[in-house]
Amino acid sequence: MTAGRFGEFGGRYIPEILMNEVIRLEEAYGRCRADEAFTGRLDRLLAEYAGRPSLLYYAEKMTRDLGGAKVYLKREDLNHTGSHKINNVLGQALLARWMGKTRIIAETGAGQHGVAAATAAALLGLDCEIFMGREDMDRQALNVYRMELLGAKVRAVTTGTMTLKDAVNEAMRAWASRVHDTHYVLGSVMGPHPFPTMVRDFQSVIGREARRQVLAAEGRLPAAVVACVGGGSNAIGIFHAFLPDASVRLIGCEAAGRGLETGAHAATVARGAVGVFHGMKSYFCQDEHGQIAPVYSISAGLDYPGIGPEHAHLHDVGRADYVPVDDERAVSAFEYLAKTEGIICAIESAHAVAHALTLAPSLSREQSVIVCLSGRGDKDVAAIARYRGVRVHE
């Protein structure tokens, strides 16, 4: 098997023009992760700038209401910029600086990764260009302005379905035309090697903290860890520390959109097939001829036709389960968490909350469940109002 494989998945399926660049990236990353000056700087940024460690919050009211396992929420929504994305971008932006790059580019769907990348670029003095589908720019106009406030240039992607997948295509094309001074900050555990491994490493701080925190609080491991999965970076981030703990069920929640039977979904594991796209072998939503399928979710962050190769492997070997959660259940969970715990989470994270609502009551009171709240929901309030048919005047 070639470099960067998780079972049969992963690899490096990219144009020759980018090969030396990703090989250089792999080497630079290998040196940085062993360099105390680099890891020390990153740890300080995570603590002093991003606000880590994030809380592991015991949702007592929700637990009482559900009447089963204790529910803990890993509060990545409280990080600076409001999501787990900051963990990865600080690592990659530091690495870009270390490699002598003066410019970063990134794709974004909902804007969380774009905002995080623009933030890191501002902090570390890098030029920044964000690729965003025209469709998503219309849906998330406020985030576009936010990125511009941070000094980034937002490039509208008007090809294909004009969403996240196309933003990745366009960022890769842009990278292929300018590698000498530019690093591509991929936002999830996807793409060619070393991205799935490197992004997982940067995100695995979530699970390291959560494992320590739950052991301190409960004196035992949780029965399950639940996270939403688009590309899957917050999920891998929280799963990774628990992988050796065979008693801990790992559950990824993918977007079932309007329902699996409607075809309007982004449920890659449930409905996809093995393929090769965006630099990796993994599961993809595609048609019988291998054309990548248009996908749909109310959540722009889960609106992606693939899944990271390590998830594909965890699915194949049965170490993690992937369950579909549709728009309606996600929106209901979004509302439930707001009313029950006073927390407005990202609609992405609400897919994981929705699964916890059925999982927790099926477990005993002595057990616990951790749900990764990957982001905050301010960005989604308008879309949820629209979904419920409420007119909001801004």
Binding site: T2, I14, P15, M19, E21, S177, I292
Partner: protein, 260 residues
């Protein structure tokens, strides 16, 4: 020497590209016939993919048009059978991305290539390191898996070019396919490096669209590859592009031959 490599024996070669099924299979067949008649030494046929990440806007749009017209791998095999029946004898090469082939099954796809008369295969998202999974079936069915070399290949050139079959596809410029005013890469150096490790002919593509460029490139390389400029004629003239393609290819082939 493969049929594909032999196509470089008649002076400097001209390699033209069309996306199969753009705007229809019938039109593509006619365009391929016209290219061969106008002196193209090899014709590349794009098997459309929804997300062609190495392509610029012109060929991206052609992919979408071809998919909207219902193009599938099996229909392209019918297209190849059709143009062979119509007397096209020049080598034909498929250009696609890994996923449609993976989905079809590498072995089944390459078997159909051999059966219908496809001589070579270009997969821009399959770099040297990942080629083994396709090379086995390609060699078994006698289809040349064409190697790409880029301006950034540097230390990789020797290793990558040494395994070349058919011809070496030298990418002239950074970025994606599309017409360029100037080509800034040190092509002489790159081609020299390639020739130091292989006798396989070297052709240059990406950005070439004028006769002057064709002559200049053909002075350095064994052939010139033109895609976007031909596809742009199809974009403009639609199903009526045949005569325009014929004139253009004739001019470009002559320009390549002028290099001596």
């Amino acid at each position: 020497m493969s049929r594909l490599s032999q196509a470089f024996q008649n002076g400097k070669a001209f390699i033209g590209f069309v996306t199969g099924g753009d705007p229809s299979l019938e039109a593509s067949a006619e365009f391929i016939v016209e290219m061969a008649r106008a002196g193209a030494d090899v014709v590349e046929i794009g098997l459309p993919f929804s997300d062609p990440i190495a392509e610029g806007p012109v060929i991206q749009q052609a992919n979408l048009r071809a998919l909207a017209a219902g193009t599938t791998p099996d229909k392209l095999f019918e297209l190849v059978t059709d143009v062979r029946r119509r007397g096209v004898t020049v080598p034909l090469v498929f250009l696609s991305y890994v996923n449609p082939l993976f989905r079809y099954g590498y072995d089944a796809f390459l078997r159909r290539c051999r059966e219908t008369g496809v001589d070579g295969l270009i997969l821009p998202d399959l770099p040297f390191e990942e080629q083994d999974e396709v090379r086995g079936p390609a060699e078994a069915h006698g289809v040349d898996l064409i190697t790409l070399i880029a301006p950034t290949s540097e230390d990789r050139v020797r290793r990558v070019a040494a395994r070349a079959a058919g011809f070496v596809y030298i990418v002239s410029s950074m970025g994606v396919t599309g017409m360029r005013r100037e080509i800034e890469t040190d092509l002489a150096g790159l081609i020299g490096l390639v020739r130091s490790v292989t006798d396989t002919p070297a052709a240059v593509g990406f950005g070439i669209h004028t006769p002057a460029q064709a002559t200049a490139i053909a002075r350095l390389a064994d052939g010139v590859i033109v895609g976007s400029a031909i596809v742009a004629l199809i974009e403009t003239h639609g199903p009526a592009a045949g005569p325009h393609i014929y004139e253009y290819v004739r001019t470009m082939k002559q320009a390549a031959l002028n290099a001596g």
